[in-house]
Symmetry: none
Subunit: 402 residues, 2 copies
């Protein structure tokens, strides 16, 4: 049985776990720094994963291990064995290899790329794991701690996608928390879906003057992009599009042989996302046909290829589901004004599969994520208040045995 948040907060074992977090706050900071200084670029999370694994094992997880995609997974059995709640944070950062990830400290502020998004989350998982042991907490359902790969950008949520589609526990997970970034004021309960394309238009090329009249892939691209700009979308479903990156062509006096545009499509509605996805393909096909009709195809025709480079499913967790109500109550109990938010996070995957999921903060303050100036503030009062709210949120769902 889950436990209502007010009862949980009054429980002596919760008090003991919270006290452990207070006493271990310096260790949390040390571990944030230690993990931040291990680079974890996209698709290169191995070193940080290995370090995290070595830190989980002595925290009561002798069986913690790497799964096939590179996630660290560590199971803490509950009494009933009837359900399994995931507590996750992501290993990867957006920063490429060679980025200086050394941490600079100014008072309670720590500066380093990736420190808030999401290295503090990893350290929080370690603190939660030790706090449960320190307070001798037995839970009703199982807890699965997961430090996952591939949350950012081209990683395309591959760590959590694997967990839910191929991982050993894929059929047993009944709830999912991702602890991502310091801010506690917003609870992500809606998954923004996205489809991302690298659309390449190709043609025979030729000399701009002597081959004038030959089909030009830039004109098919232009018609596609202009059509994109005129798509009608619903603001209610937060449906959006963007022509984001352009490129191609080699010389001012050559008709290009190849040009491309990168297109980002998003929506919180799977139907609307599918509709604009279809519309994009239709725009490409029409533009290609029009350019092949307009120009000469004697040396070759225009072709196009829309390469899918990102695919994140939309979804949502009902506002009245336990994971949302418990999280909101826990946050409110610790003084946070909770806003419900839509975003694209690891929670997209469970939400799209109907598994109740939220993204919740990791405590403290932070800013400038995805820039080299990223920072967090570990001032203890705010930092600990956030951690305790997170502890209460997941214990409210997983249930505390007497």
């Amino acid at each position: 049985m889950p436990i209502a948040v007010p009862a949980l907060l009054a429980h002596p074992k919760f008090a003991a776990a919270a006290a452990y977090l207070e006493g271990a706050h310096d260790r949390l900071i040390e571990e944030i720094i230690q993990l931040t200084e291990i680079p974890a670029p996209p698709f290169k999370e191995e070193r940080r994963a290995a370090a995290f694994l070595e830190m989980m094992r002595p925290a009561g997880f002798a069986d913690a291990k790497l799964d096939a995609i590179g996630n660290v997974v560590a199971l803490r059995k509950g009494r009933s064995g009837g359900g399994m709640i995931v507590l996750s944070a992501h290993l990867d950062t957006v920063f490429p290899e060679g980025t200086d990830v050394s941490v600079r400290r100014e008072g309670t502020k720590l500066f380093a790329p990736g420190i808030g998004d999401d290295t503090r989350g990893l350290a929080a998982l370690l603190a939660f794991a030790r706090a449960l042991d320190a307070a001798a907490i037995e839970t009703e359902a199982d807890l699965l701690f997961v430090a996952d790969v591939g949350e950012e950008g081209r990683g395309d949520l591959r760590g959590i996608r694997h967990l839910f589609t191929e991982g050993e526990f894929r059929d047993r997970i009944t709830g999912f928390f991702t602890f991502d970034s310091p801010d506690m004021d917003e609870l992500v309960v809606t998954a923004v879906g996205s489809r991302r394309y690298h659309v390449v238009f190709r043609g025979p090329g030729g000399h701009s003057f002597s081959a004038f009249g030959t089909v030009n892939p830039a004109y098919a691209l232009a018609e596609t992009v202009l059509g994109l700009s005129r798509m009608s979308v619903s603001s209610e479903t937060r449906t959006t599009f963007s022509a984001s990156v352009l490129g191609g062509g080699t010389s001012i006096n050559a008709i290009p042989e190849e040009v491309f545009v990168d297109v980002d499509l998003r929506s919180i509605s799977p139907e609307d996302l599918a509709r604009i996805d279809t519309e994009l393909h239709r725009l490409v096909d029409t533009a290609v046909a029009n350019e092949n009709a307009r120009g000469s195809t004697e040396s070759g025709a225009i072709t196009a290829e829309a390469v899918l480079i990102g695919d994140r499913p939309a979804g949502a967790t009902p506002r009245d589901s336990l994971i949302v109500t418990a999280s909101a109550e826990a946050l409110a109990a610790f003084g946070f004004e909770v806003g419900f938010r839509a975003s694209s996070t690891d929670a997209n995957i469970p939400m799209s599969l109907g598994v109740p999921a939220v993204m919740i903060g990791t405590g403290g303050k932070g800013g400038r994520a995805h820039t080299l100036a990223e920072w967090i503030d570990v001032e203890p009062e705010t930092s600990l208040r956030g951690l305790k709210a997170g502890l209460a949120a997941f214990l409210g769902v997983v249930g505390l045995c007497d």
Copy 2:
């Protein structure tokens, strides 16, 4: 005194020079390959220039040198010193650094980027220089061999522009041949004028999802480029346009702050060139206004800037000038059906200054210039017939001493 083409062809020294070209045809092919495999991207002709200089010196040009802009210039004094005829070919190709320029051979066909435009021309200059020496030919006027930089694209004819405006021989040149590309059937006597623009569209940018609705410079670019493709132009005045290079944007999840398109406009009619130039500016202005009306300008509006990056003057050489009549007679004598043609070549500069000039072929056959599939055919009969016609053309102008 120039020499009439029939008399020239009957001259034993011409026969000796022609015989030299026949005997040196394999060497011509070797040097075409050797020079083609030295990359000469726009603005990076140094390596090929240095190699060409080292090949000219032993061909009787101990004083061959690089001029201030990077052209290789080699003077062969004539008897009278009264005039100076330039024999030129261009060093640069349209292909960027890193392009595979290795030559693939299939029978008499050679494939490589830049091999016909204009690397064969460089090898032809070397063959001409050696043929004159081998036949102990003394000319009336001076001959200035020039392997020039910057004929293609953004180079904007800077090598030949320098030769005529700042070079040491600028006031002495009385005629100008540029040997450019294999085809011998067409003699360029009209300079196609061009105006080239780097059109930059700028906007406030923003996150593709959270700032959705913000104006996007890619949409203004797309409307401009699509409008360009629909411009009506006259084929009589050979008026042409091309959207040639695209770029901009930083990330799939960001509305770009800046995108660009490079546009090439040409015509043999100064009036038509001015008209499409005005039309391009109108398209840009309209597209910018439309995008600012479509999207939100709360964080800033779209602006555009059309930077002039190429401006090649139109011009023509009179049909009754010696350089045209001698070239046409020489070509006809070697069995070519000569068509007078308009193009944008190094000859634009002398033509616009009133210095008689032509572009003439380098012999053989070729195709797919400005593409990675560029090829030439060095089948000896056609290749040598073209070279001999070129030799006869310039000797008909420069004059042969007995």
